[in-house]
Assembly symmetry: C2
DNA sequence: TGTAATAAACAACAGGGTGTTCATTATTAT
DNA sequence: ATAATAATGAACACCCTGTTGTTTATTACA
């Protein structure tokens, strides 16, 4: 557990580091960033950075951790009812509203999310998010979306398909400026997932 | 244009460099690799590396270029007939065999592909492949899969959905050892794409 | 097979980022 | 006001980079 009451200076420092990180990802990509870049941009002594983080990867991981924690909370809150709704009567209202909440969350954190999920962002985060999706859909919990019973294809691939597709749509949304509302994005995602890409393309009646 | 008839020594050198690259990606991830790592592993003088490539990113790009060229060729050869078949009678045999060819190609190059598409691979390649998929599905060519006419959702998102889903399934396949045959993988992908994830999960009649 | 061409090896270089340490200064909490 | 502590600044050895010039080994070809 972290100290409940951190010094004001610590808060300032960490905030400016993170702000600099996002800026620099957008400018030159996470790959190309050095600790020196970050501290210069954050107008902070390099030694101060090392007082808080081991290196830029550690910094990245810490930031990601918070996001993943939020995502977990959001999922724990909403996911069970989604599964229940689908089991009982295959109605898609509950998955829809869950997706709305997801996009609302992404919208709030769009600065960080766009940078880190973008083409010059951080692969390890994208991997992590993908894994989270996969496990949520297919994980060992009995309450997953993918149930071995009536599958037409192996569950691992169905989960990979859906998980990466969702992330792909999120990336496209963030990359193109996040113009659509969370409601519209949820409509798009559920339409494709429920009816299938071919149907959504107008190729199937 | 490159010299048609390169020195034997050049061939050997480049080959050992690429072999080392793949090994090292698997061991420590592309991020963590240094030029020194590569040359030590390839048992090559560091200066020799710089005679062929600017840096590790240049090396990576050159490798990726060849793959992308193959993918383009494969697509040019098969894609038009896929689109035609879908337009005429919505039969899915042609997309199926195209997908088989794709997985056959991936299988041949699985060493490199697994490394570079893996969780510690190269984000820039994954981005590039995603873009290729997106443009193939939605690009400005009139013969794309996604046609503005009967769309239920914006084309950019449908293309992002399908493109990333395909890549996700490929990654899952490579990551889990490539056990399924290209035919089986094509069946899986077309089943989900044509009927939709919900149907493939057994949630829809 | 001998020879000219050239790739690879070797060595040395300045330059820059890393991660650490320690003394000094500034800010915070109380 | 003061004790605690975070941030600064400077210095350090270390490692990797990218380049250059010289020497050695291999290759292509006549």
């Amino acid at each position: 557990m972290r100290n409940i009451n951190p010094d004001l200076r610590v808060i300032r420092t960490k905030e400016s580091i993170r702000y600099a990180l996002v800026e620099l990802i957008n400018e030159k990509g996470f790959d190309a960033i050095t600790v020196k870049d970050i501290t210069t941009r954050a107008r902070i002594n390099r030694g101060t950075f090392y007082a808080h983080y081991q290196d830029k990867f550690d910094l990245m991981t810490r930031c990601e951790e918070e996001i993943m924690l939020d995502m977990s909370r959001l999922t724990k809150q909403n996911y069970p009812s989604v599964i229940a709704a689908l089991e009982i009567d295959s109605q898609t209202l509950t998955p829809f509203s869950f997706t709305v909440s997801l996009f609302e969350y992404l919208q709030i954190n769009s600065g960080f999310m766009k940078a880190v999920l973008g083409p010059r962002g951080d692969l390890s985060f994208q991997t992590r998010l993908k894994k989270f999706m996969w496990e949520t859909l297919y994980g060992n919990n009995p309450n997953a979306f993918v149930k071995e019973e009536n599958l037409l294809v192996p569950g691992q691939y169905l989960a990979a398909y859906m998980g990466t597709a969702i992330i792909g749509v999120i990336q496209q949304w963030l990359e193109s400026g996040g113009k659509e509302s969370p409601q519209e994005m949820a409509r798009i995602l559920t339409t494709i997932s429920v009816n299938g890409p071919f149907f959504a393309a107008g190729l199937k009646k």
